[in-house]
Each structure stands twice: as C-alpha cells, then as structure tokens.
C-alpha cells in the first residue's frame, strides 16, 4: 500500500513553486480565456467565413468567394454613402470633442471655490447615453417647439429643421453627442491633475507666461490623454449606431445613414448575413489600420514622463 503510493507520486513529475504558480495563473484567467474563444476569437473567425458566403439564415450558407466584397466596393452606392457619412462625422466630431473636452478640463482645473459643483454639472450628461438621451435631444431639436429653435426665435432667427433637414441632420447629431463631452473632459482633467506643479514653478522662474506654460508644459504632458481620447474617440464614432437609429433612422434622404446602421439593416432586416459580415470585416480592418497608424506615429508626438519621477 505504502510503496505503491510512493511509486505513483514518483511518476508524476514534482512541480516546483514556479510551475505551480503558473498553473494557478492559467486557472485564474481561464474564464477569460474560454470567454475569449467563445465570444471574441470564434465569432471573428466565423464572421470572416460568413463574409465569403451568401446566407439568409433560413437556408444553408452558399460559398461565393469574394463576391460580397466586390459588391460592397463596386456596386453598392448606399454602402459608399454610409461610409462617407461615418467618415465626415468622425472627422468633425472627434476633433471637436477633444477641443471642447480639453478646454473644459482646463477651466475646471482652476483652484476655485465651488469648482466641484461645476465638474459635476459638466460630467453628468456623459453618463446618460442611450435612448432617453437621444429622445430628449429630439425634443430639443423639434423645429416648431424645441428649445433650440425657441431660443433662436427670441434672437429673431428662424432656426433650421434640424433632424428633418438633410443639410442639418448630421450637424444636429454632432451637437447631440457633444453634450456628452464630459467623458473625454474627465480624462483630460485626470491628466492635468497629474502634472507636477513644480514644473509650472520652474517655468515661471524662467519667465513663462500662461500661454507659454500651456504650450511648453501642459500640452506635452497631456499627450498620453490626447492619444487615449483620439483612439477611443475614433473607435467609438466609427461604430455610431443608437443615436442615428433612434433620432433619424438614417434619414432624411440617407443623410445620417451611418455605416453600422446600414450594416444592421442588411443583417437583421434584409437577412443578408454574408454581406453584412463582409461590411463588418471591412470596418474591422479600417479601424484596426487607423488605430495602428496612430499608435505607430504616436512615438513622435506622445510624451511619456520617465518613470521614477
């Protein structure tokens, strides 16, 4: 009895502490690993396979090679339109979000009495995303009775028809989203509060004024926050869906037909799963390319303070 148990224990290689720790590590992260395969890696691979097929969910998928991609790039004017809408929105919204976010953060970083109240007010809207947020703004933009046109009327200006006017609808959506600027503001504010005051004192001794201090101290030290807001801003705006689906459903005249809204229609209204998957993969690659380009060039403009400071 005793000798056999010794023999079996001899056959199993004895694990040293490091190996046991490694096994424990993989045990700990195993939920994430399984989830990664089931909900990320698997779907991404499946999505690429679907993109090579024609599939309406009712019959089995038909392999069509690159047909979906060819159709997307050459024969679908609406897809091109939706890409343009998304691109214009991203190119206008992301810089505006960063400029307003940074300006507000600079204002709110002043050491003034009651500044906490202001921080709360500016940050609050950014936790309120979703349908209710959009419905509220649809009422704000109501051409006859909405607050915006009412205020314009006080000033003697006849306001546009906003969400109902193809020329104004996208601008209205941009204004609507800018109400949530608190999200990027709070990241800039955290970055600002992390800048050691010593640096400003040194700059003052060197005779720097406010302007110089901003360009030579504040902005360089905020570049990590800028990078973060830039990358997540681009990733999020490329995926704009809810705001357009609820406020305009792509209209009027497709002026707010965002790429993901069109993708959703193709998949879940027209049941063209293959084509929609091809659209998803194109978006995936575009965003990946943008992110990589920004990351790779960030070494030139992002300034990291050395550790140990």
């Amino acid at each position: 009895m005793n000798s056999t148990s010794i023999k079996t224990s001899l056959r199993i290689p004895r694990l040293n502490l490091r190996q046991r720790e490694a096994i424990l590590f993989y045990l700990c992260i195993s939920p994430w690993l399984i989830g990664f395969v089931l909900f990320y890696l698997g779907p991404i691979i499946a999505s690429f396979y679907f993109s090579l097929t024609e599939w309406d969910l009712l019959t089995s998928p038909q392999f069509v090679g690159m047909d979906n991609y060819v159709r997307l790039f050459t024969r679908d004017a609406l897809a091109l339109k939706s890409f343009k809408v998304t691109l214009v929105y991203t190119l206008v919204y992301v810089p505006l979000d960063m400029i307003f976010g940074l300006s507000l953060a600079l204002l709110l970083n002043q050491k003034l009495r009651g500044i906490g109240v202001f921080r709360t007010v500016y940050y609050l809207p950014s936790v309120l995303s979703g349908v209710a947020y959009v419905v509220m703004w649809m009422w704000m933009f109501n051409p006859q009775y909405g607050l915006i046109n009412t205020l314009l009327k006080y000033a003697g200006i006849q306001g546009p028809r906003w969400l109902l006017d193809p020329k104004w609808a996208l601008s209205a959506l941009i204004i609507m989203s800018l109400w949530g600027v608190g999200r990027s503001m709070i990241i800039f504010l955290a970055g600002l509060q992390d800048i050691p005051t010593v640096l400003y004192e040194v700059a003052e001794i060197d005779g720097a004024n406010r302007w110089n201090k901003f360009w030579k101290v504040t902005l360089p030290l905020l570049t990590p926050s800028l990078l973060f807001n830039l990358i997540f801003g681009i990733i999020l705006t490329f995926q704009t869906f809810t705001n357009a689906f609820v406020a305009t459903n792509g209209g009027p005249l497709d002026s707010t037909l965002f790429y993901v809204l069109y993708l959703y229609r193709k998949a879940f209204e027209h049941l063209q799963m293959g084509y929609a998957s091809a659209m998803a993969w194109v978006l995936f690659l575009i965003v990946l390319a943008c992110t990589l380009v920004i990351f790779l060039t960030s070494g030139k403009w992002v300034f990291y303070r050395s550790i140990g400071e």
Binding site: P31, L112, V131, A132, F284, R305
Partner: protein, 291 residues
C-alpha cells in the same frame, strides 16, 4: 503656511491680486454660462414632462408650467408596461454585475499577482479586445445564441459577463497591483491559500474598485441598446431602452408623455451619479488612463 499669512487685505489691493481676481471672475462667468448650456436640456425635458399637449406648443414657452400636469407620469408609464421594462433591465444588470464581479476579480488577481510564462501576451491580447469593433461580433454571436436557443432570453446579455470583461479586469488589476504585497505574504505565512487571500485580504481592500466596476456595469446595461435590440424580440422581454424606443415610435406627437418617460429612464443614472460620483472619477484614476 507662510503664503497663507501673507494673503491679507493690503495684498488684496495690490495690482497682481486685482489681475487674479479679474481672471477668476472671467473663469466663473465662462463656467456659469457653460453650466447653463449643460443643464438646460435636462431642465427643458423636466419642464416639458409636466406639460399638456397644448402647453407644449405655447410660445413663448412656460419654463415652469402652470398648471403642472403630474398625470403625464402615471399616464405615460401605463401606456406601455414601463415598470416591467425597468424590472427586466434591473434583473439583467444584477446578474451581469454578479458575473463580472466574480469572474473579473479572479482573472484580475491572476494578472496582478501571479507569475507565469505567456502572461504579458495574454494581458496585451485582453487589452486589445477592448478596441474591437463590436459589429464584427454581433452577427456570429446572434447565430451562436440562436443555435443555443437563447434568442429572446436574457442569457446572451448575462452569460458573457461570467467570463469577464476586459475593461473591468484591467481596472481591478491596476487596483490590485497597488495593494502592498506584504499583506498577502503575511497571510501566506499564516497558512492561508490563494483563494482565502483573495477573499479575506484583496476583496475587503478593493471595495472602491469593485464598486466602480458595479457602477460602470450598471451604466452599461441600463444604457445598452444594440445588444438588447438584436437579442430580445418579445415586448414582455424589453429592457428600458427598447421600451422607450418603442414608446417613441408610437407616440411621437405627445411630447409631454415622451419626456415623462425619458425622465423616468434617465433618473436612475442621475441618482447613481450623484450618490456615487467619486467612483466614476476613481474608476478612471485606477486605470491610470491619465498617462
């Protein structure tokens, strides 16, 4: 201390202080004007939620409607079963928060404290999934959950939470790394195993971070629209976001009702924000996003 003593009234009259006071005044004015712009939409929605169809169309508008039409609330909330939608959403949120707190704590502990070959690779892989474009997953997920017979149930919105979410894992990992390791070493010497350490040492010290995860998670579920839209079809299963969207598409002209419903849908997040504001801010600080 010295600087505080020197801040007396004669200094106050010196030119440099005048300049500082004018500068502060300008900043206050800008802050107040900006605050008005940020508060007005909410105030306008609240004001409209107490107006009848007739009052809504008046010009100039009544900022504080008289009479206040309280009935908008009970009437709007019974047109569609709003409380049902709210309860559905609360149930999903509670289960998702439970799943995320359980799984993310364990996963984050692994990433924060245990050494193993391949750890950095998996950590970076996990972070990179945060940047994934969601639409690339949604079609295969729909097909996957459809095969499992989960469509029109809450499982697609709850089960993935039990496998952790990258942002919450990252947040907790950053927090755990700042807990002095000596506390754990002391417990190890006393004969505690890793699970006991996690439960008795790490979790009690990490309440702010866990609270931040719960709040972010609640916010995510409460505001989520695309996933419920794809996975839930029956009206009795609707979340608050789906319910409000349904309400909007049916009763567009009754802005008083619509604003009453919107205020009810916004209220939980507003209340949570005021109660737990510091956790929102801390959540960002923990992750060290600030750079």
């Amino acid at each position: 201390m010295a600087s505080r003593n020197s801040y007396n009234e004669s200094d106050f009259l010196q030119p440099s202080h005048w300049r500082r006071n004018i500068w502060n005044l300008i900043i206050y004015l800008m802050l107040i004007m900006g605050s008005l712009m940020f508060i007005l939409p909410l105030f306008w929605a609240l004001s409209s939620s107490f107006k009848s169809d007739y009052q809504v169309m008046q010009y100039p508008p009544q900022w504080i409607p008289s009479p206040l039409r309280w009935q908008n609330y009970p009437e709007a909330l019974t047109y569609v079963p709003f409380w049902r939608f709210a309860l559905n959403t609360l149930f999903i949120a509670a289960m998702a928060i439970l799943g995320n707190l359980l799984s993310c704590t364990i996963i984050a502990y692994g990433f924060a404290r245990l050494r193993a070959p391949g750890k950095n690779f998996f950590f970076i892989l996990m972070l990179s999934t945060m940047m994934l474009v969601e639409p690339v997953r949604i079609i295969p997920l729909y097909i996957e959950f459809n095969k499992l017979g989960w469509i029109d149930s809450y499982l697609p919105l709850i089960v993935p939470a039990f496998f952790g979410s990258p942002f919450y894992i990252f947040l907790l990992r950053q927090f755990f790394m700042n807990i002095p390791i000596e506390l754990e070493e002391a417990a190890l010497i006393d004969g505690a195993n890793r699970l006991q350490i996690l439960w008795k040492v790490i979790v009690p010290l990490s309440k702010p971070a866990l609270a931040a995860v719960a709040i972010f998670n609640f916010q995510g579920v409460w505001n989520d629209f695309l996933y419920p839209l794809v996975f839930l079809h029956k009206q009795s299963n609707y979340t608050i976001a789906l319910g409000l969207n349904f309400f909007r598409s049916t009763y567009t002209v009754h802005w008083g009702y619509l604003m009453a419903a919107s205020i009810v849908a916004l209220l939980p997040m507003v209340i949570i924000f005021f109660i737990a504001q510091r956790y929102f801010i801390q959540g960002i600080t923990f992750t060290g996003i600030k750079g």
